[in-house]
């Protein structure tokens, strides 16, 4: 059986609060906090992008897996903020991590689902025996237009997973994908900010796909919500994943560990993978975990995982998600945020 042999996450230290953004645009912070359940979000520094986040998360994954990077035969990075339109993020990240040149690399994009997409393909290659180890990463420095609802959530971070066949820390018991042509959110070539269909992103997009994929994987495995210790769903805002979880029968105790969006924001392709990393940081052997991502356009990937006896041995080998979320932070004013997100036009 194939599964996860190592994982790691990375969240930048800079933060901006919902209050700060709301005040900038003359909105009532209490209304935003109540409506979206967002307190603050991470912001990338000038020297942080999808590649650096991938490398930071990937190195932690290698440390926990304790595998020779040269044995990693495939590397996939899912993101909607690859620094280059043409030139792979994966090649830079691989070289920095000591992976390759005997390696298959591709950059993935499927809105916020690209991270689990990379994980899904990496798992498949390991299961088939084509490669011994494969790494799948979801990372983003998410874009959200100024004065758009997305500005309160779009944040930076990511997580990396190495899949293999022995010394597993979590078995992958089942996967399921649910996809349809649903144009709820998009960014066209050359456009700086994504556009979205407002409330259309909810019921017909997020909920239809997340609930369909999750219910199907429960049916496929014969498991019930009660059987799981944890569940994590893509987190475009605070409310959606909690609503989806409750509709599926999950309780707050099962949802709260992976629910990072309140202080992390939506790290797009990194969102549910980072939620899973926070769960693996604390899960106990035998714990069942449900992961369901969502990417606009639209689709969801579901994974049912089971923590192994080995997991506690590797949890302390790299920084935990909570240590990065709750550890040292630098709070930005909106002006500083605008500078770091390169929203201020300056001469070259």
């Amino acid at each position: 059986m194939a599964g996860i042999v190592g994982y790691g996450a990375y969240i930048p230290r800079k933060r901006i609060t919902t209050d700060e953004i709301a005040h900038q645009w003359g909105k009532d912070p209490a209304v935003i906090q109540r409506g979206l359940l967002l307190k603050e979000k991470s912001v990338p520094g000038f020297d942080e992008d999808t590649i650096t986040i991938s490398v930071a998360a990937g190195r932690s994954a290698i440390d926990r897996a304790n595998v020779d990077p040269q044995k990693i035969g495939a590397l996939y990075i899912g993101s909607e903020s690859h620094p280059y339109a043409v030139k792979p993020s994966g090649t830079v990240a691989a070289e920095a991590m000591g992976i390759g040149p005997e390696v298959h690399i591709a950059d993935f994009e499927f809105a916020c689902k690209a991270g689990t997409e990379a994980m899904f393909v990496a798992l498949g290659l390991v299961e088939s025996g084509r490669v011994e180890y494969a790494m799948g990463i979801g990372a983003d420095t998410s874009q959200g237009a100024p004065d758009d609802a997305l500005e309160f959530s779009a944040s930076a971070g990511g997580a990396a997973y190495i899949f293999g066949k022995d010394k597993l820390i979590a078995d992958v018991l089942e996967t399921y994908s649910y996809t349809s042509d649903t144009p709820d959110f998009w960014r066209r070539e050359g456009e700086f900010y994504p556009r979205h269909g407002g409330r259309y992103t909810g019921e017909p997009a997020y909920f239809t796909h997340v609930l369909s994929a999750s219910q199907a994987i429960l049916d496929k495995t014969g498991l019930k919500a009660d059987d799981f210790a944890y569940a994590v769903f893509h987190m475009p805002n605070g409310k959606f994943p909690l609503t989806a979880g409750k509709k599926l029968g999950f309780k707050e105790e099962q949802l709260k560990t992976g629910w990072l969006v309140h202080t992390m924001g939506n790290t797009y392709s990194g969102s549910s993978p980072t939620g899973l990393a926070a769960i693996l940081d604390v899960a106990k052997p035998g714990d069942l975990i449900l992961l369901t991502s969502f990417g606009s356009g639209a689709g969801s990937d579901s994974f049912v995982l089971k923590a192994t006896d080995r997991l506690p041995e590797v949890q302390g080998l790299a920084p935990t998600v909570r240590s990065m979320l709750d550890g040292p932070r630098q709070y930005l004013t909106y002006g500083e945020y605008a500078k770091f997100r390169e929203k201020i036009i300056v001469n070259d």
Partner: protein, 382 residues
Amino acid sequence: MREVAIVGAGMTRFGELWKYSLRDMFVEAASGALQDAGADRLDSMYVGCMSGGQFVGQEHLGPLMADHLGMAGVAATHVESACASGGVALRQAFMEVASGMSDVVLAAGIEKMNDGADVTNVLATAADQETEVYYGVTFPGLYAMIARAHMEEYGTTEEDLAWVAVKNHKQGALNEKAQFPREVTLEEVMNSSIVSAPLRLLHCSPVTDGAAAVLLCPLDMAKEFTDAPVKIVGSGMATGSMALADREDPAFLDSVEKSGAQAYKMAGIGPRDVNVAEVHDCFTIAEICCTEALGFVEKGKGGPAAKEGFTALGGCIPVNTSGGLKSKGHPVGATGIAQTIEIFRQLRGEAGARQVENARIGLAQNMGGSGASSVVHIFEGV
């Protein structure tokens, strides 16, 4: 004039109907009305719709809808009077049957609002572009000013407004077609987000997709279609100043009073004879102003009517038993016909848990803009 009856009704569920297009909704409602009456022919049809052009880029709705109903060939006319488009479609159909020009006529209303359009801006085209919208006002802003004027003049309170939402949601909770069929508490309304002070989120009707249709014919032909026809005994329509600032009294809706007076006169009744009414509560303050202008309560006394139960189910004159625009939803062009269907059901004793006992005479009032147009119909069970 011939006596006219409604002999069939059909409507979609109201809500965010993402999987339904404008034409899908029309066909469901219109074929529902035809089936309800067992009718297989139409002489003519009217389609009330505020802005297919701006919401979904589609005009020329008469032939489009006739075609998709499988009725290409019949006369079909699109009518527009902003949010009163449905009520005006009914009035046109009524006049065509009453005049003897046609026998079997469909009056429909539709609106597809959830399809990516900037709804607030589209709706604002029903206000005066040159003297109102140019300066940035939107409909919540205009009705907020009406509310301020009413509070200033008559001492109406924010709690009075909130009770209208509480009452209509309580009634809408009994309507399976409603967009928000659930009750809300006074506290929830009073603590909901400010949209345009003093109006809060739960003082405002929602953005809705939906369609509704009724089938009309001469009363003496009605038994061919149903054992329980409902007569249209009064119809009135009036206009008022387009811009709120041009009105002598911004807290009073002249067009509603005038359209009501015409309908009462034609029906030969007064407000006290009405057993059940649907009025245009696009915002909670609008229900208060409409009940005053229609004479259900004295001018300036509409504020406490909901709280005191005067306009609630079981009260003296139950208003918006369907949940009103507030709870049932407000697909603008469809609203006038949906109101008519509620009265049709009430007068036939088919309103289930929200049935008004012994309802014999009902009234529907549908309004465009901030009250620049209003249309009132009075119905009587047979």
